[in-house]
């Protein structure tokens, strides 16, 4: 082990967390928007609109069928336009958010569809408006499932940050490729892997803990 190891790792982790936090935030916001719109506009939904549903569905499938590494390249002009550069962690946030949003949209859609239709029917029978049904019934009722799904998604984004790192975004992925692989620094390779595993575990545990605490409050007798 050489003395630059800690510094390099720390810098890599910092960049990875920076990308992860911001791209997760944007991807979740976009994904929620897509997922809620998909459920609202589907056949029998509270704001049924087949053309909108079909269009969004097509776009999601289109973006999702592209390998992420190609998507990043395609999004270079967008990143340059939004943040002024096509290099580094900040530029990667643009690609990561747009790349992960369709996946999140599907995940949110699936979680929302788990809600028993009878609950929506009940809300309609009381004269609740479509927004009230979406935001005060559908989302809160799906919350534990949503938290679990979002955990999966954030972990998937962690993986994507490493891919982005390989083509110039920085972070732990870039560290592993540039030092661990290209300069034969086995110590860095192993340390990077350990840090990534620890990061993913922490994310999974936190997600599980949040979902469980919601469920405990709702479903366990006092």
């Amino acid at each position: 082990m050489r003395d630059d190891l800690i510094d390099l790792l720390w810098e890599g982790l910092r960049q990875t967390l920076y990308m992860l936090i911001w791209s997760s935030l944007f991807a979740i916001l976009l994904g929620m928007l897509l997922g809620v719109t998909l459920v609202a506009t589907e056949k029998g939904g509270v704001l049924e609109n087949r053309p909108i549903h079909k269009t969004i569905s097509l776009i999601i499938n289109g973006v999702r069928s592209l390998p992420f590494i190609i998507l990043i390249v395609l999004l270079i002009p967008v990143a340059r336009w939004v943040v002024g550069t096509s290099l580094g962690p900040t530029a990667a946030i643009v690609s990561l958010s747009i790349g992960a949003a369709p996946f999140l949209g599907r995940i949110v859609e699936t979680a929302l569809k788990e809600v028993v239709p009878g609950k929506i029917e009940a809300a309609r029978s009381f004269g609740a408006s479509p927004p009230a049904i979406l935001f005060r019934v559908l989302l809160p009722e799906a919350l534990p499932a949503l938290v679990r799904s979002l955990t999966i998604a954030v972990i998937a984004i962690t993986e994507l940050t490493a891919v982005a790192g390989a083509i110039g975004a920085g972070g732990l992925g870039s560290l592993a490729i540039r030092f661990g692989y290209q300069r034969f620094r086995e110590d860095i390779m192993i340390a990077t892997v350990v840090v990534i595993i620890a990061l993913v575990q922490t994310l999974q545990w936190s997600g599980d803990a949040i979902a469980k605490s919601i469920e405990r409050r709702r479903y366990k007798a006092k």
Binding site: A132, R136, E141, R218
Partner: protein, 261 residues
């Protein structure tokens, strides 16, 4: 209070059209407890859902009070629905909300202020004898308690009509009885018009004054509950009453044998 004229509804399924309702006519008096009875698939659920347009009828009209429900636009319909409470077989409570929040939901949807909601929720929970369960979640309640919350929630906006979709079918006989008692006392106290759809004779017998029998999407018989039991005319009504009759005869036979020994 409720007048249904020539109501029709057809579902278009992959295996062809299915006529759920066909030329349904009904007249329900204000303050009545009106039963609609039929076997599974007869169209009961569709009929009750057409009354508040959870299902859109294809033809015919529904009038509740002075309002022609079938001619309302979306927004007017939402307003009208506040005066039409509904309870369900599976209760359909919101699991993520406490009892208080469940009952408060229709009030919030109606744009009521916090102080009013507080007061009104306490009032209706008192009415269904669940004042001590305000902070509980539905999963912590028994089936009967869940349906009481359902009733409180349906009554929150002071409706004039209460629609009951197989409201006691998921409950045991004892609990069914207590829920029916509750519905009856609410009907008397508030003068509420109650429409019950059911496949259980006990429900008719315990609380209904009048009944309509539905068979393959058509009303085949209407009248008082007494006449239904004494002189059933339609096939469905005869089949229902026959089951009871057979048991009565069986019991007489058993009792007769018992007395002979």
């Amino acid at each position: 209070m409720i007048v249904v004229r020539n109501l029709g509804k057809t579902y278009h399924t992959p295996s062809g059209p299915f006529v759920a309702l066909n030329g349904v006519n009904l007249e329900i008096e204000r303050g009545d407890i009106y039963g609609i009875i039929g076997f599974s698939g007869a169209g009961k659920s569709t009929l009750v859902r057409c009354l508040n347009r959870l299902e859109e009828p294809d033809e015919g009209t529904v009038a509740i009070g002075n309002t022609d429900i079938t001619s309302l636009n979306e927004k007017q319909l939402r307003l009208a629905r506040r005066k039409i409470g509904m309870i369900f077989q599976q209760f359909n409570l919101f699991d993520g909300k406490t009892v208080f929040q469940n009952v408060a939901f229709p009030l919030k949807a109606a744009g009521r202020d916090k102080a009013y909601i507080r007061r009104r929720v306490a009032e209706v929970l008192e009415m269904v004898q669940l004042s001590d369960k305000e902070k509980a979640y539905p999963s912590q309640l028994s089936g009967g308690q869940k349906q009481r919350v359902g009733i409180a929630r349906a009554l929150a906006n002071e409706p004039e009509v209460l629609l009951c979709d197989e409201a006691t079918s998921a409950l045991d006989p004892q609990t069914t009885y207590s829920i029916l008692e509750l519905l009856q006392s609410i009907n008397r106290r508030l003068g509420l018009t109650v429409v019950l759809i059911t496949h259980e004779l006990e429900v008719l017998q315990h609380i209904c004054n009048n009944v309509a029998v539905i068979e393959r999407g058509t009303i085949v018989e209407t009248g008082t509950v007494d006449r239904f039991f004494l002189n059933p005319k339609s096939d469905t009504a005869r089949r229902f009453v026959n089951i009871v009759e057979q048991y009565r005869q069986k019991r007489q036979l058993v009792e007769g044998v018992g007395a002979g020994i």
